[in-house]
């Protein structure tokens, strides 16, 4: 075994040397080691074998740098896409087995519906030439350059993240068709219009909130709070699950797969390394590395903050709250991960972890049934994280620089986001309720949405004694 490892290690080292040696090639400054070259000189060498040519077919480091930025943005987008898997795992883990297939479908379809509608309508509303309130061009998006396409895919996965937040809060009792309608509206209208107010000028639009100095780097408010307050509206209109509250007491409905929820949190954490550092949209300067650190510190502090609060309050450290705490820290740091000092990012995360536990329990005791804590994690902690920028940002923060203007603008953005998302979503859910129906009936909810809404079970062997069909009834649609 040791001989095998030694051989493998030897081969790997030899391979690395072979790759590295050509890079120590002759440059304009003579034979210098790669590491001592400037970025542009290194790019010139790498460009020899790349396709980064300008209009005249000449390789330039500027093109290569631009395409490296694009590559980074795309890789970050792919990481954020992976967060969809994280959300699915968390929600399936925190809910009951009889609804697992339904939860999976909601998470799958809100991404699919969102991708299509954001391409068709949302992107234009968010980033098109703006009339001051929303964009009016770039619908059915067609990019002129590669950068356009990369920007679209990056923004699409952010939109999909906002949309999928709600599925956790409305789980186990919402009609599937109602959820499809909701995800269409949030991807096409709710998210993009508010997004344009903050980020529209990153492309072709204008952002009145952003212009006032509202700082939401990767979307604590734009993505998470918008999703969180929509979730609040949904949970309120739907009402609690059957049996959730009995004689004034909160009845726990434990999730059926805590390990899966834990896996989901790890996947989300990984994806967040695309969400936050990717929002630099550029490799240059290496600021994405700093953002990765603040992101990680806040997540860790969030889990520990939630751990401490749940341990003190309930005498036992609750794993489900620790998981929520990590997510809370991630959500909170998302607004200021580029400007908050490392030490303050720990504080931001820790406070988020504490308030996610407190708000989840208080909301539950107030009668709001949120199976996964989505409102607390995304709505409440998104607002806290946005506020934290006004408190802790290296420049302009209240506690760091003694200035209050940033804090006030952050507060304004938080309030506008709440009003916009909550009120439009409230109208939407009420509209669905009084037209095509929002909540499943009692028998459906008791039987489970898998069998009632989708005609199958996620875990057939758990609920059916026989492992195979006892009788074939027919073939639908023959």
């Amino acid at each position: 075994m040791r001989a095998f490892c030694a051989i493998v290690l030897g081969m790997a080292s030899w391979f690395c040397l072979c790759v590295d040696r050509p890079l120590m090639a002759e440059t304009a400054g003579g034979d210098k080691p790669f590491q001592s070259l400037s970025v542009d000189e290194r790019l010139e060498i790498l460009a020899q074998s790349s396709l980064a040519r300008d209009d005249e077919g000449k390789v330039t480091s500027a093109n290569l740098r631009g395409e490296t930025d694009l590559l980074w943005m795309c890789i970050a987008a792919f990481l954020v896409f992976a967060m969809q898997a994280g959300f699915a795992c968390v929600e399936i883990g925190f809910t009951r087995a009889k609804n697992a297939a339904n939860i999976l479908m909601k998470n799958l379809l809100d991404f699919c519906v969102g991708s299509l509608l954001f391409w068709a309508i949302g992107f234009g509303l968010m980033f098109g030439k703006s009339n001051g309130l929303f964009g009016t061009s770039h619908f059915f998006f067609h990019g002129q350059t590669s950068y356009d396409w990369g920007f679209l895919i990056f923004q699409t996965v952010f939109c999909a993240t906002a949309a999928t937040i709600v599925s956790g809060a409305v789980a186990e009792r919402i009609h599937f068709h109602a959820y499809l309608i909701y995800s269409a509206v949030i991807s096409a209208l709710t998210y993009p219009i508010f997004g344009s107010w903050v980020w529209g000028s990153a492309y072709q639009g204008t952002s009145w909130l952003g212009d006032m100095g509202f700082h939401d780097f990767a979307g604590s408010t734009v993505v998470h709070s918008i999703g969180g307050w929509a979730a609040l509206a949904g949970a309120l209109v739907l009402g609690p699950r059957l049996g959730k509250y009995r004689a004034g007491r909160v009845v726990p409905i434990p999730g059926h797969n805590l390990p899966l929820a834990g896996l989901g949190v790890f996947i989300l954490w990984l994806g967040w390394f695309g969400f936050n550092p990717g929002s630099t949209l550029s490799v240059g300067g290496g600021h994405f590395a700093y953002v990765a650190v603040t992101t990680n510190l806040a997540a860790s502090a969030g889990a520990i903050g939630a751990l401490i609060v749940s341990w003190v309050w309930f005498k036992k450290p609750d794993p489900s709250f620790a998981l929520n705490g990590a997510l809370a820290g991630l959500v909170a740091i998302t607004a200021g991960c580029d400007v908050i000092p490392a030490s303050y990012s720990i504080l931001t995360g820790a406070v988020a972890g504490a308030i996610v536990v407190i708000s989840a329990v208080l909301l539950d005791r107030a009668g709001l049934d949120d199976p996964v804590g989505a409102v607390s994690v995304h709505g409440v902690c998104g607002a806290w994280g946005t506020l934290a920028v006004g408190l802790f940002a290296a420049e302009g923060g209240l506690l760091t620089a003694g200035e209050v203007h940033s804090l006030l603008v952050q507060l304004l953005g938080i309030v506008v986001a709440f009003l916009w998302s909550f009120l439009t979503s409230l109208a939407l859910f009420l509209g669905i309720k009084y037209t095509v129906g929002l909540r499943v009936d009692r028998e459906t909810e008791l039987r489970g949405l898998d069998i009632a809404e989708h005609g199958l079970l996620a875990y057939p062997e758990q609920f059916v004694i026989e492992t195979g069909p006892t009788e074939v009834v027919g073939n639908l649609g023959k």
């Binding site: 009845v251 726990p252 434990p254 609750d318």
Partner: protein
Amino acid sequence: MKKIEAIIRHFKLEDVKAALTKEGIQGMTVTEVRGFGRQKGHTEIYRGAEYSVDLVPKVKIEVVVPDADLDRVIDTIIQSAYTGQVGDGKIFVSDITQAVRIRTRETGDQALK
């Protein structure tokens, strides 16, 4: 022939099974059950809400034995399943009117061997 239904703790299953096979018992049926007796359930806590779980998981072993072996088998089960704590379980005995081996159609005590 008598049927012995023994409800025992989960982790005692291997001990009881080994003891019974050592005594010459050729077969048994094991099911996972839930229930409670004097051993009440336990309290769990989920996200700040306490709830009690009344039904405790146990294992039920069913063996059918000739009348002559009844006391010996009951003693074997008691000795291997005993811990001394509340929740050790119970044994119920009932009469069996007939037993048949499906493969050979043997009946009675022959079917139990």
